[in-house]
Protein backbone atom coordinates (compact mmCIF):
# COMPACT_ATOMS: atom_id res chain seq x y z
CA UNK A 1 0.00 0.00 0.00
CA UNK A 2 2.65 2.48 1.07
CA UNK A 3 4.73 1.54 -1.98
CA UNK A 4 1.75 2.25 -4.23
CA UNK A 5 1.15 5.60 -2.55
CA UNK A 6 4.81 6.61 -2.93
CA UNK A 7 4.93 5.67 -6.60
CA UNK A 8 1.71 7.58 -7.23
CA UNK A 9 3.07 10.62 -5.39
CA UNK A 10 6.23 10.55 -7.49
CA UNK A 11 4.23 10.24 -10.72
CA UNK A 12 1.79 12.95 -9.69
CA UNK A 13 4.33 15.73 -10.33
CA UNK A 14 6.35 14.43 -13.30
CA UNK A 15 8.36 17.60 -13.93
CA UNK A 16 9.44 17.97 -10.33
CA UNK A 17 10.28 14.27 -10.21
CA UNK A 18 12.31 14.57 -13.41
CA UNK A 19 14.24 17.60 -12.17
CA UNK A 20 15.00 15.91 -8.85
CA UNK A 21 16.07 12.66 -10.49
CA UNK A 22 18.28 14.53 -12.98
CA UNK A 23 19.88 16.53 -10.15
CA UNK A 24 20.68 13.33 -8.25
CA UNK A 25 21.96 11.83 -11.50
CA UNK A 26 24.30 14.80 -11.96
CA UNK A 27 25.56 14.26 -8.42
CA UNK A 28 26.21 10.56 -9.08
CA UNK A 29 27.81 11.26 -12.46
CA UNK A 30 30.07 13.93 -10.99
CA UNK A 31 31.33 11.54 -8.33
CA UNK A 32 31.83 8.63 -10.74
CA UNK A 33 33.51 10.70 -13.45
CA UNK A 34 35.80 12.70 -11.13
CA UNK A 35 36.95 9.59 -9.31
CA UNK A 36 37.05 7.61 -12.57
CA UNK A 37 39.13 10.27 -14.27
CA UNK A 38 41.69 10.51 -11.48
CA UNK A 39 41.83 6.76 -10.92
CA UNK A 40 42.02 6.16 -14.66
CA UNK A 41 44.89 8.58 -15.13
CA UNK A 42 46.75 7.13 -12.16
CA UNK A 43 46.25 3.56 -13.30
CA UNK A 44 47.15 4.36 -16.86
CA UNK A 45 50.29 6.16 -15.68
CA UNK A 46 51.19 3.23 -13.43
CA UNK A 47 50.67 0.73 -16.23
CA UNK A 48 52.91 2.75 -18.49
CA UNK A 49 55.64 2.78 -15.86
CA UNK A 50 55.25 -0.92 -15.32
CA UNK A 51 55.31 -1.34 -19.07
CA UNK A 52 58.91 -0.18 -19.11
CA UNK A 53 59.69 -3.70 -18.00
CA UNK A 54 62.20 -2.78 -15.30
CA UNK A 55 62.37 -4.52 -11.93
CA UNK A 56 63.47 -1.52 -9.87
CA UNK A 57 63.11 2.23 -10.19
CA UNK A 58 65.73 4.47 -8.59
CA UNK A 59 64.80 8.07 -7.82
CA UNK A 60 66.37 10.93 -5.86
CA UNK A 61 65.74 11.21 -2.11
CA UNK A 62 62.12 12.11 -1.23
CA UNK A 63 61.02 11.79 -4.86
CA UNK A 64 57.36 11.25 -5.61
CA UNK A 65 56.10 7.90 -6.78
CA UNK A 66 54.97 9.91 -9.80
CA UNK A 67 58.16 9.99 -11.79
CA UNK A 68 57.13 13.03 -13.78
CA UNK A 69 57.48 15.15 -10.63
CA UNK A 70 61.03 14.13 -9.99
CA UNK A 71 62.99 16.69 -12.00
CA UNK A 72 66.62 15.90 -12.77
CA UNK A 73 68.80 16.00 -9.72
CA UNK A 74 70.74 12.74 -10.11
CA UNK A 75 74.19 12.50 -11.72
CA UNK A 76 74.01 10.18 -14.66
CA UNK A 77 77.20 8.50 -13.50
CA UNK A 78 75.12 6.68 -10.88
CA UNK A 79 73.93 4.50 -13.74
CA UNK A 80 77.42 3.03 -14.19
CA UNK A 81 77.61 2.15 -10.50
CA UNK A 82 74.22 0.48 -10.65
CA UNK A 83 75.19 -1.48 -13.74
CA UNK A 84 78.08 -3.07 -11.87
CA UNK A 85 75.97 -4.45 -9.03
CA UNK A 86 75.40 -8.19 -8.79
CA UNK A 87 72.44 -9.59 -10.75
CA UNK A 88 71.86 -6.31 -12.62
CA UNK A 89 71.39 -6.94 -16.31
CA UNK A 90 70.75 -3.40 -17.59
CA UNK A 91 70.26 0.15 -16.37
CA UNK A 92 68.40 2.84 -18.32
CA UNK A 93 68.73 6.47 -17.19
CA UNK A 94 65.74 8.60 -18.15
CA UNK A 95 65.27 12.33 -17.97
CA UNK A 96 61.66 13.43 -17.64
CA UNK A 97 59.74 16.60 -18.25
CA UNK A 98 56.21 17.72 -19.06
CA UNK A 99 54.84 19.06 -22.28
CA UNK A 100 52.04 21.43 -21.38
CA UNK A 101 51.10 22.51 -24.90
CA UNK A 102 47.67 21.14 -25.88
CA UNK A 103 47.42 18.98 -22.79
CA UNK A 104 49.73 17.49 -20.23
CA UNK A 105 52.10 14.87 -21.57
CA UNK A 106 55.10 13.20 -20.03
CA UNK A 107 58.28 13.24 -22.13
CA UNK A 108 61.06 10.74 -21.65
CA UNK A 109 64.56 11.71 -22.64
CA UNK A 110 66.20 8.35 -23.32
CA UNK A 111 69.37 6.71 -24.43
CA UNK A 112 67.94 4.30 -27.03
CA UNK A 113 70.50 1.59 -26.44
CA UNK A 114 70.07 1.31 -22.65
CA UNK A 115 66.33 1.98 -22.83
CA UNK A 116 65.90 -0.87 -25.31
CA UNK A 117 68.00 -3.17 -23.14
CA UNK A 118 65.62 -2.63 -20.23
CA UNK A 119 62.32 -2.43 -22.11
CA UNK A 120 63.01 -4.90 -24.88
CA UNK A 121 62.63 -2.14 -27.45
CA UNK A 122 59.73 -0.29 -28.97
CA UNK A 123 57.08 -1.93 -31.11
CA UNK A 124 57.03 0.36 -34.12
CA UNK A 125 53.72 1.19 -35.76
CA UNK A 126 55.29 3.51 -38.29
CA UNK A 127 58.62 5.23 -39.05
CA UNK A 128 61.91 4.47 -37.37
CA UNK A 129 63.69 4.91 -34.03
CA UNK A 130 65.41 8.02 -32.69
CA UNK A 131 68.53 8.95 -34.61
CA UNK A 132 68.91 12.74 -34.86
CA UNK A 133 68.87 15.31 -32.01
CA UNK A 134 65.51 16.72 -33.11
CA UNK A 135 63.78 13.38 -33.58
CA UNK A 136 60.77 12.50 -31.50
CA UNK A 137 58.80 9.28 -31.09
CA UNK A 138 55.13 9.41 -30.15
CA UNK A 139 52.94 6.56 -29.01
CA UNK A 140 49.89 5.42 -30.95
CA UNK A 141 47.40 6.92 -28.45
CA UNK A 142 49.04 10.36 -28.69
CA UNK A 143 49.11 10.07 -32.48
CA UNK A 144 45.41 9.23 -32.56
CA UNK A 145 44.40 11.86 -30.01
CA UNK A 146 46.39 14.70 -31.59
CA UNK A 147 46.07 13.40 -35.14
CA UNK A 148 49.83 13.45 -35.62
CA UNK A 149 51.63 11.49 -38.34
CA UNK A 150 55.22 10.59 -39.07
CA UNK A 151 56.95 13.46 -40.85
CA UNK A 152 55.13 16.22 -39.01
CA UNK A 153 56.85 18.77 -36.83
CA UNK A 154 55.88 19.09 -33.17
CA UNK A 155 56.63 22.24 -31.23
CA UNK A 156 57.26 20.97 -27.73
CA UNK A 157 58.81 22.72 -24.73
CA UNK A 158 59.97 25.57 -26.98
CA UNK A 159 61.63 23.22 -29.45
CA UNK A 160 60.70 21.90 -32.88
CA UNK A 161 60.85 18.11 -33.17
CA UNK A 162 60.42 15.90 -36.19
CA UNK A 163 58.08 13.00 -35.65
CA UNK A 164 60.08 10.05 -36.90
CA UNK A 165 58.08 7.18 -35.53
CA UNK A 166 54.88 6.02 -33.90
CA UNK A 167 55.32 3.33 -31.26
CA UNK A 168 53.04 1.02 -29.30
CA UNK A 169 51.89 2.74 -26.07
CA UNK A 170 52.89 1.56 -22.62
CA UNK A 171 56.61 2.30 -22.29
CA UNK A 172 56.50 4.92 -19.56
CA UNK A 173 55.63 8.06 -21.55
CA UNK A 174 53.80 9.10 -24.67
CA UNK A 175 56.69 11.16 -26.11
CA UNK A 176 60.33 10.10 -26.39
CA UNK A 177 63.32 12.20 -27.37
CA UNK A 178 67.06 11.68 -27.15
CA UNK A 179 68.38 12.36 -23.66
CA UNK A 180 71.15 14.80 -24.66
CA UNK A 181 68.59 16.96 -26.47
CA UNK A 182 66.35 17.10 -23.42
CA UNK A 183 69.33 17.71 -21.15
CA UNK A 184 70.28 20.70 -23.31
CA UNK A 185 66.74 22.02 -23.27
CA UNK A 186 66.50 21.68 -19.49
CA UNK A 187 70.04 22.77 -18.71
CA UNK A 188 70.55 19.46 -16.94
CA UNK A 189 73.75 18.15 -18.40
CA UNK A 190 74.80 14.71 -17.15
CA UNK A 191 71.66 14.47 -15.08
CA UNK A 192 68.83 11.95 -15.00
CA UNK A 193 65.47 11.89 -13.25
CA UNK A 194 65.15 8.16 -12.82
CA UNK A 195 67.08 4.96 -13.41
CA UNK A 196 65.22 1.87 -14.51
CA UNK A 197 67.05 -1.27 -13.41
CA UNK A 198 66.53 -4.66 -15.02
CA UNK A 199 67.80 -7.74 -13.18
CA UNK A 200 68.96 -10.98 -14.69
CA UNK A 201 66.13 -12.77 -12.84
CA UNK A 202 63.16 -11.19 -11.13
CA UNK A 203 63.75 -13.30 -7.96
CA UNK A 204 66.88 -11.25 -7.43
CA UNK A 205 64.93 -8.02 -7.05
CA UNK A 206 64.97 -7.99 -3.21
CA UNK A 207 68.70 -8.61 -3.16
CA UNK A 208 69.40 -5.94 -5.78
CA UNK A 209 67.12 -3.53 -3.94
CA UNK A 210 69.17 -4.02 -0.79
CA UNK A 211 72.39 -3.55 -2.72
CA UNK A 212 71.16 -0.26 -4.15
CA UNK A 213 69.98 0.89 -0.73
CA UNK A 214 73.46 0.28 0.60
CA UNK A 215 74.98 2.11 -2.36
CA UNK A 216 72.57 5.02 -2.37
CA UNK A 217 71.22 5.52 1.12
CA UNK A 218 68.25 7.96 1.31
CA UNK A 219 67.43 7.46 -2.40
CA UNK A 220 63.97 6.19 -3.32
CA UNK A 221 64.36 2.60 -4.43
CA UNK A 222 61.07 1.17 -5.63
CA UNK A 223 60.57 -2.39 -6.81
CA UNK A 224 58.05 -2.10 -9.65
CA UNK A 225 56.25 -5.36 -8.91
CA UNK A 226 53.70 -3.62 -6.68
CA UNK A 227 53.88 -0.28 -8.40
CA UNK A 228 50.19 -0.07 -9.41
CA UNK A 229 49.09 -0.51 -5.80
CA UNK A 230 51.23 2.51 -4.83
CA UNK A 231 49.61 4.76 -7.43
CA UNK A 232 46.76 6.05 -5.33
CA UNK A 233 45.34 9.52 -4.97
CA UNK A 234 46.84 9.75 -1.49
CA UNK A 235 50.33 9.59 -3.04
CA UNK A 236 49.70 12.63 -5.22
CA UNK A 237 49.71 15.85 -3.19
CA UNK A 238 46.31 17.55 -3.26
CA UNK A 239 44.55 14.91 -5.35
CA UNK A 240 42.77 13.30 -2.41
CA UNK A 241 41.62 16.73 -1.24
CA UNK A 242 40.48 17.58 -4.77
CA UNK A 243 38.41 14.39 -4.97
CA UNK A 244 36.90 15.06 -1.55
CA UNK A 245 35.99 18.63 -2.54
CA UNK A 246 34.34 17.44 -5.74
CA UNK A 247 32.41 14.78 -3.83
CA UNK A 248 31.41 17.43 -1.30
CA UNK A 249 30.10 19.69 -4.07
CA UNK A 250 28.18 16.78 -5.57
CA UNK A 251 26.66 15.90 -2.19
CA UNK A 252 25.72 19.56 -1.63
CA UNK A 253 23.91 19.65 -4.98
CA UNK A 254 21.98 16.48 -4.14
CA UNK A 255 21.23 17.63 -0.61
CA UNK A 256 19.89 21.03 -1.67
CA UNK A 257 17.80 19.73 -4.55
CA UNK A 258 16.24 16.98 -2.43
CA UNK A 259 15.68 19.42 0.41
CA UNK A 260 13.88 21.90 -1.84
CA UNK A 261 11.93 19.21 -3.65
CA UNK A 262 10.72 17.49 -0.49
CA UNK A 263 10.10 20.75 1.34
CA UNK A 264 7.88 21.91 -1.52
CA UNK A 265 6.19 18.52 -1.53
CA UNK A 266 5.44 18.73 2.17
CA UNK A 267 4.01 22.24 1.83
CA UNK A 268 1.95 21.22 -1.16
CA UNK A 269 0.65 18.11 0.60
CA UNK A 270 -0.13 19.77 3.89
CA UNK A 271 -3.81 18.88 3.66
CA UNK A 272 -2.99 15.28 2.72
CA UNK A 273 -0.75 15.04 5.76
CA UNK A 274 -3.68 16.29 7.83
CA UNK A 275 -5.88 13.58 6.30
CA UNK A 276 -3.31 10.90 7.12
CA UNK A 277 -3.16 12.18 10.67
CA UNK A 278 -6.94 12.14 10.97
CA UNK A 279 -6.83 8.50 9.87
CA UNK A 280 -4.44 7.79 12.72
CA UNK A 281 -1.13 7.81 10.85
CA UNK A 282 1.74 8.14 13.29
CA UNK A 283 4.66 10.55 12.95
CA UNK A 284 6.86 7.61 11.99
CA UNK A 285 4.43 6.63 9.24
CA UNK A 286 4.57 10.12 7.72
CA UNK A 287 8.36 10.27 8.00
CA UNK A 288 8.49 6.85 6.33
CA UNK A 289 6.44 8.11 3.39
CA UNK A 290 8.65 11.17 2.85
CA UNK A 291 11.91 9.24 3.21
CA UNK A 292 10.70 6.36 1.05
CA UNK A 293 9.74 8.82 -1.66
CA UNK A 294 13.20 10.38 -1.36
CA UNK A 295 14.83 6.96 -1.57
CA UNK A 296 12.89 6.22 -4.74
CA UNK A 297 13.98 9.52 -6.30
CA UNK A 298 17.59 8.88 -5.28
CA UNK A 299 17.44 5.37 -6.68
CA UNK A 300 16.12 6.69 -9.98
CA UNK A 301 18.81 9.37 -9.95
CA UNK A 302 21.52 6.83 -9.18
CA UNK A 303 20.46 4.53 -12.04
CA UNK A 304 20.30 7.48 -14.45
CA UNK A 305 23.62 8.81 -13.09
CA UNK A 306 25.38 5.48 -13.66
CA UNK A 307 24.04 5.30 -17.20
CA UNK A 308 25.10 8.92 -17.78
CA UNK A 309 28.58 8.16 -16.45
CA UNK A 310 29.09 5.36 -18.96
CA UNK A 311 27.71 7.56 -21.73
CA UNK A 312 30.02 10.42 -20.75
CA UNK A 313 33.00 8.10 -20.57
CA UNK A 314 32.30 6.89 -24.11
CA UNK A 315 31.98 10.46 -25.36
CA UNK A 316 35.12 11.65 -23.55
CA UNK A 317 37.21 8.75 -24.79
CA UNK A 318 35.99 9.32 -28.31
CA UNK A 319 36.82 13.02 -28.12
CA UNK A 320 40.05 12.63 -26.13
CA UNK A 321 41.56 9.19 -26.81
CA UNK A 322 44.47 9.88 -24.41
CA UNK A 323 42.03 10.09 -21.50
CA UNK A 324 41.46 7.13 -19.25
CA UNK A 325 38.33 6.98 -17.09
CA UNK A 326 38.11 4.05 -14.74
CA UNK A 327 34.56 3.21 -13.60
CA UNK A 328 34.62 0.54 -10.94
CA UNK A 329 31.69 -1.30 -9.25
CA UNK A 330 33.07 -0.07 -5.92
CA UNK A 331 32.74 3.61 -6.87
CA UNK A 332 29.38 3.03 -8.56
CA UNK A 333 28.11 1.70 -5.22
CA UNK A 334 29.79 4.52 -3.32
CA UNK A 335 28.31 7.17 -5.61
CA UNK A 336 24.82 5.67 -5.25
CA UNK A 337 25.27 5.45 -1.49
CA UNK A 338 26.54 9.03 -1.26
CA UNK A 339 23.49 10.20 -3.26
CA UNK A 340 21.14 8.19 -1.06
CA UNK A 341 22.62 9.38 2.22
CA UNK A 342 22.81 13.00 0.98
CA UNK A 343 19.19 12.74 -0.16
CA UNK A 344 18.07 11.32 3.17
CA UNK A 345 19.74 14.17 5.01
CA UNK A 346 18.09 16.60 2.60
CA UNK A 347 14.67 15.06 3.24
CA UNK A 348 15.10 14.72 6.99
CA UNK A 349 13.99 18.24 7.87
CA UNK A 350 10.94 18.29 5.54
CA UNK A 351 9.96 14.86 6.90
CA UNK A 352 10.30 16.12 10.46
CA UNK A 353 8.20 19.20 9.61
CA UNK A 354 5.54 16.99 8.02
CA UNK A 355 5.39 14.65 10.99
CA UNK A 356 4.90 17.54 13.41
CA UNK A 357 2.14 19.31 11.53
CA UNK A 358 -0.92 20.11 13.56
CA UNK A 359 -3.71 17.99 12.05
CA UNK A 360 -6.39 20.68 12.45
CA UNK A 361 -4.24 23.36 10.79
CA UNK A 362 -3.18 20.89 8.11
CA UNK A 363 -6.79 20.00 7.29
CA UNK A 364 -7.67 23.68 7.00
CA UNK A 365 -4.75 24.34 4.61
CA UNK A 366 -5.85 25.67 1.22
Amino acid sequence: MIRHMIVQNVLHRPLRTLITVVAVAVEVTLVIIVVGLTSGLLLESAKRTEGVGADIMVQPPSASVFIAFSGAPMPIAIGDKLAHLDFVQAVAPVLTTFNTVNGLDLIFGIDPETFDSVTGGFVMHAGHELREPNDILIDDIYARAKKVQVGQTLHIVGHDFNVVGIVEHGKGARLFVLMPTLQDMMGAHDKASVFFVKNDRSEHTPAVTEEIRDLLPHYEIRPLKDFISQMTSSNLPGLGAFINVMIGIAVAIGFLVIFLSMYTTVIERTREIGVLKSLGASKAYIVQIILSETALLCLGGAVLGIALSYAMRSIFIKLFPALSILITPRWILWAALIALVGGMFGAAYPAWIASRKDPVEALAYE
Partner: protein, 227 residues
Protein backbone atom coordinates in the same frame (compact mmCIF):
# COMPACT_ATOMS: atom_id res chain seq x y z
CA UNK B 1 -25.36 1.60 29.33
CA UNK B 2 -22.22 3.77 29.32
CA UNK B 3 -22.04 6.63 26.80
CA UNK B 4 -19.58 6.08 23.96
CA UNK B 5 -18.76 9.78 24.07
CA UNK B 6 -18.96 12.11 27.01
CA UNK B 7 -17.70 15.64 27.56
CA UNK B 8 -17.59 17.42 30.90
CA UNK B 9 -17.25 21.18 31.09
CA UNK B 10 -15.17 21.19 27.91
CA UNK B 11 -13.23 24.34 27.07
CA UNK B 12 -11.10 25.12 24.08
CA UNK B 13 -9.38 28.49 24.03
CA UNK B 14 -7.31 29.74 21.09
CA UNK B 15 -4.66 32.37 21.53
CA UNK B 16 -4.80 35.06 18.85
CA UNK B 17 -1.99 37.51 19.39
CA UNK B 18 -2.41 38.59 22.99
CA UNK B 19 -6.08 37.76 23.14
CA UNK B 20 -7.64 34.50 24.33
CA UNK B 21 -10.55 33.48 22.13
CA UNK B 22 -12.74 30.73 23.62
CA UNK B 23 -14.19 28.45 20.94
CA UNK B 24 -15.83 26.04 23.42
CA UNK B 25 -17.17 27.28 26.76
CA UNK B 26 -17.86 24.46 29.12
CA UNK B 27 -19.61 21.98 26.83
CA UNK B 28 -21.09 18.93 28.58
CA UNK B 29 -22.83 16.30 26.51
CA UNK B 30 -23.21 12.55 26.07
CA UNK B 31 -23.62 10.30 23.04
CA UNK B 32 -24.84 6.76 23.58
CA UNK B 33 -23.69 3.79 21.45
CA UNK B 34 -25.77 3.47 18.30
CA UNK B 35 -26.95 7.10 18.39
CA UNK B 36 -26.93 9.47 15.41
CA UNK B 37 -26.48 12.93 16.88
CA UNK B 38 -26.59 16.09 14.79
CA UNK B 39 -24.90 19.22 16.12
CA UNK B 40 -26.34 22.38 14.66
CA UNK B 41 -25.39 25.97 14.97
CA UNK B 42 -24.35 29.09 13.05
CA UNK B 43 -20.87 29.59 11.63
CA UNK B 44 -18.28 30.27 14.31
CA UNK B 45 -20.31 28.74 17.15
CA UNK B 46 -17.61 26.12 17.81
CA UNK B 47 -19.09 23.08 16.02
CA UNK B 48 -15.94 22.16 14.12
CA UNK B 49 -13.74 22.80 17.15
CA UNK B 50 -16.03 20.50 19.09
CA UNK B 51 -15.58 17.78 16.47
CA UNK B 52 -11.78 18.20 16.45
CA UNK B 53 -11.57 17.93 20.23
CA UNK B 54 -13.88 14.93 20.61
CA UNK B 55 -12.08 13.22 17.70
CA UNK B 56 -8.67 13.73 19.30
CA UNK B 57 -7.35 16.00 16.56
CA UNK B 58 -7.02 18.90 19.00
CA UNK B 59 -6.35 18.99 22.71
CA UNK B 60 -8.92 20.53 25.05
CA UNK B 61 -7.88 23.52 27.16
CA UNK B 62 -9.98 22.45 30.16
CA UNK B 63 -12.57 19.82 31.01
CA UNK B 64 -12.81 16.15 30.12
CA UNK B 65 -13.56 14.14 26.97
CA UNK B 66 -14.23 10.43 27.33
CA UNK B 67 -14.29 8.36 24.14
CA UNK B 68 -15.14 4.70 24.66
CA UNK B 69 -13.97 5.10 28.24
CA UNK B 70 -10.64 6.78 27.36
CA UNK B 71 -9.98 10.26 28.70
CA UNK B 72 -8.57 12.16 25.74
CA UNK B 73 -7.54 15.12 27.87
CA UNK B 74 -4.89 13.09 29.67
CA UNK B 75 -3.53 11.46 26.54
CA UNK B 76 -0.32 12.33 24.70
CA UNK B 77 -0.35 13.20 21.02
CA UNK B 78 0.74 9.68 20.03
CA UNK B 79 -1.88 8.08 22.30
CA UNK B 80 -4.58 10.20 20.67
CA UNK B 81 -3.22 9.17 17.25
CA UNK B 82 -3.66 5.52 18.23
CA UNK B 83 -7.15 6.19 19.49
CA UNK B 84 -8.13 7.94 16.23
CA UNK B 85 -6.70 5.04 14.27
CA UNK B 86 -8.79 2.41 16.02
CA UNK B 87 -11.93 4.17 17.24
CA UNK B 88 -12.74 7.23 15.12
CA UNK B 89 -13.76 7.67 11.50
CA UNK B 90 -13.79 11.16 10.04
CA UNK B 91 -15.85 12.50 7.16
CA UNK B 92 -15.07 16.03 6.00
CA UNK B 93 -16.95 18.66 4.06
CA UNK B 94 -14.21 18.79 1.39
CA UNK B 95 -14.01 14.98 1.17
CA UNK B 96 -10.23 15.11 1.72
CA UNK B 97 -9.42 12.15 -0.46
CA UNK B 98 -5.81 11.71 -1.52
CA UNK B 99 -5.75 12.95 -5.12
CA UNK B 100 -2.98 10.59 -6.24
CA UNK B 101 -4.86 7.45 -5.20
CA UNK B 102 -7.91 5.85 -6.78
CA UNK B 103 -11.03 5.13 -4.74
CA UNK B 104 -9.88 1.60 -3.93
CA UNK B 105 -6.58 2.74 -2.49
CA UNK B 106 -8.14 5.69 -0.66
CA UNK B 107 -10.31 3.20 1.20
CA UNK B 108 -7.65 0.54 1.79
CA UNK B 109 -5.26 3.24 3.03
CA UNK B 110 -7.37 3.44 6.17
CA UNK B 111 -7.08 -0.33 6.63
CA UNK B 112 -3.34 -0.11 6.10
CA UNK B 113 -2.92 2.62 8.70
CA UNK B 114 -5.25 0.67 10.98
CA UNK B 115 -2.56 -2.00 10.95
CA UNK B 116 -4.72 -5.09 10.72
CA UNK B 117 -3.97 -5.55 7.04
CA UNK B 118 -6.41 -5.72 4.17
CA UNK B 119 -9.74 -7.30 5.09
CA UNK B 120 -11.34 -8.19 1.73
CA UNK B 121 -14.65 -9.19 3.29
CA UNK B 122 -15.10 -5.92 5.17
CA UNK B 123 -13.98 -3.99 2.09
CA UNK B 124 -16.52 -5.80 -0.07
CA UNK B 125 -19.35 -5.16 2.40
CA UNK B 126 -18.52 -1.44 2.64
CA UNK B 127 -18.02 -0.95 -1.10
CA UNK B 128 -21.35 -2.62 -1.87
CA UNK B 129 -23.18 -0.78 0.89
CA UNK B 130 -22.00 2.55 -0.46
CA UNK B 131 -22.52 1.61 -4.11
CA UNK B 132 -18.88 2.03 -5.05
CA UNK B 133 -18.08 -1.30 -6.70
CA UNK B 134 -18.03 0.18 -10.21
CA UNK B 135 -16.05 3.29 -9.29
CA UNK B 136 -13.12 1.87 -7.39
CA UNK B 137 -10.51 2.35 -10.11
CA UNK B 138 -11.28 6.04 -10.48
CA UNK B 139 -9.25 8.83 -8.94
CA UNK B 140 -11.05 11.60 -7.00
CA UNK B 141 -10.76 13.98 -9.95
CA UNK B 142 -12.78 11.47 -12.00
CA UNK B 143 -15.59 11.17 -9.44
CA UNK B 144 -18.57 13.41 -8.74
CA UNK B 145 -18.87 15.16 -5.39
CA UNK B 146 -21.40 12.62 -4.17
CA UNK B 147 -19.17 9.74 -5.21
CA UNK B 148 -16.17 11.33 -3.53
CA UNK B 149 -18.11 11.71 -0.31
CA UNK B 150 -19.22 8.08 -0.50
CA UNK B 151 -15.57 7.06 -0.87
CA UNK B 152 -14.71 9.23 2.14
CA UNK B 153 -17.54 7.57 4.06
CA UNK B 154 -16.24 4.14 3.07
CA UNK B 155 -12.78 5.13 4.25
CA UNK B 156 -14.23 6.28 7.56
CA UNK B 157 -16.12 3.07 8.32
CA UNK B 158 -13.90 0.39 6.76
CA UNK B 159 -11.90 0.11 9.98
CA UNK B 160 -15.09 -0.44 12.03
CA UNK B 161 -14.68 2.63 14.23
CA UNK B 162 -16.61 3.12 17.44
CA UNK B 163 -17.79 6.48 16.22
CA UNK B 164 -18.01 8.39 12.93
CA UNK B 165 -17.52 12.15 13.14
CA UNK B 166 -18.89 13.95 10.10
CA UNK B 167 -18.07 17.62 9.61
CA UNK B 168 -20.66 19.20 7.29
CA UNK B 169 -20.63 16.10 5.04
CA UNK B 170 -23.16 17.62 2.63
CA UNK B 171 -21.71 21.13 2.62
CA UNK B 172 -20.14 20.72 -0.82
CA UNK B 173 -22.89 18.66 -2.42
CA UNK B 174 -25.99 19.39 -4.45
CA UNK B 175 -29.39 18.50 -3.03
CA UNK B 176 -29.63 15.08 -4.65
CA UNK B 177 -26.14 14.00 -3.62
CA UNK B 178 -26.71 15.42 -0.13
CA UNK B 179 -29.82 13.34 0.26
CA UNK B 180 -27.99 10.23 -0.92
CA UNK B 181 -25.14 10.76 1.55
CA UNK B 182 -27.52 11.51 4.44
CA UNK B 183 -29.55 8.39 3.63
CA UNK B 184 -26.35 6.38 3.68
CA UNK B 185 -25.41 7.82 7.06
CA UNK B 186 -28.85 6.98 8.39
CA UNK B 187 -28.72 3.42 7.06
CA UNK B 188 -25.23 2.96 8.50
CA UNK B 189 -26.66 3.99 11.83
CA UNK B 190 -29.83 1.96 11.60
CA UNK B 191 -28.58 -1.17 9.86
CA UNK B 192 -25.08 -1.46 11.28
CA UNK B 193 -25.64 0.37 14.57
CA UNK B 194 -22.85 2.81 13.74
CA UNK B 195 -22.61 5.70 16.20
CA UNK B 196 -22.48 8.99 14.30
CA UNK B 197 -21.98 12.60 15.33
CA UNK B 198 -22.67 14.96 12.46
CA UNK B 199 -22.11 18.68 12.35
CA UNK B 200 -24.33 20.68 10.08
CA UNK B 201 -25.88 24.09 9.75
CA UNK B 202 -28.69 22.67 7.62
CA UNK B 203 -31.85 21.90 9.67
CA UNK B 204 -33.06 19.38 7.08
CA UNK B 205 -29.79 17.48 7.25
CA UNK B 206 -29.87 17.59 11.04
CA UNK B 207 -33.21 15.80 11.06
CA UNK B 208 -31.58 12.66 9.68
CA UNK B 209 -30.14 12.11 13.15
CA UNK B 210 -32.12 10.83 16.14
CA UNK B 211 -31.10 13.76 18.30
CA UNK B 212 -30.10 17.34 17.56
CA UNK B 213 -27.88 19.48 19.76
CA UNK B 214 -27.88 23.23 19.20
CA UNK B 215 -24.72 25.22 19.76
CA UNK B 216 -24.24 28.94 20.09
CA UNK B 217 -21.14 30.89 21.14
CA UNK B 218 -19.24 27.77 22.13
CA UNK B 219 -22.01 26.27 24.27
CA UNK B 220 -24.67 23.61 23.78
CA UNK B 221 -27.81 25.60 24.33
CA UNK B 222 -30.41 22.88 23.98
CA UNK B 223 -31.07 19.43 22.65
CA UNK B 224 -34.05 17.67 21.20
CA UNK B 225 -34.84 14.09 20.36
CA UNK B 226 -36.29 13.53 16.92
CA UNK B 227 -37.01 9.82 16.87
Amino acid sequence: MEPILKTENLWKVYRQGKVDVPALRGVSMEVMPGEFVSIMGPSGCGKSTMLHVIGGLAQATRGRVFLDGNDLTTMSDSERTLLRRHKVGFVFQKFNLLPTLDAYHNITLAQHIHGNGFDPHRFEVVAQLLGLTGRLKHKPSELSGGEQQRVALARAIVGEPKIVLADEPTGNLDTKSSEAVLNLLRSLNKDLGQTIVMITHNPEAAEYGNRVLHMRDGEVVDGESIH
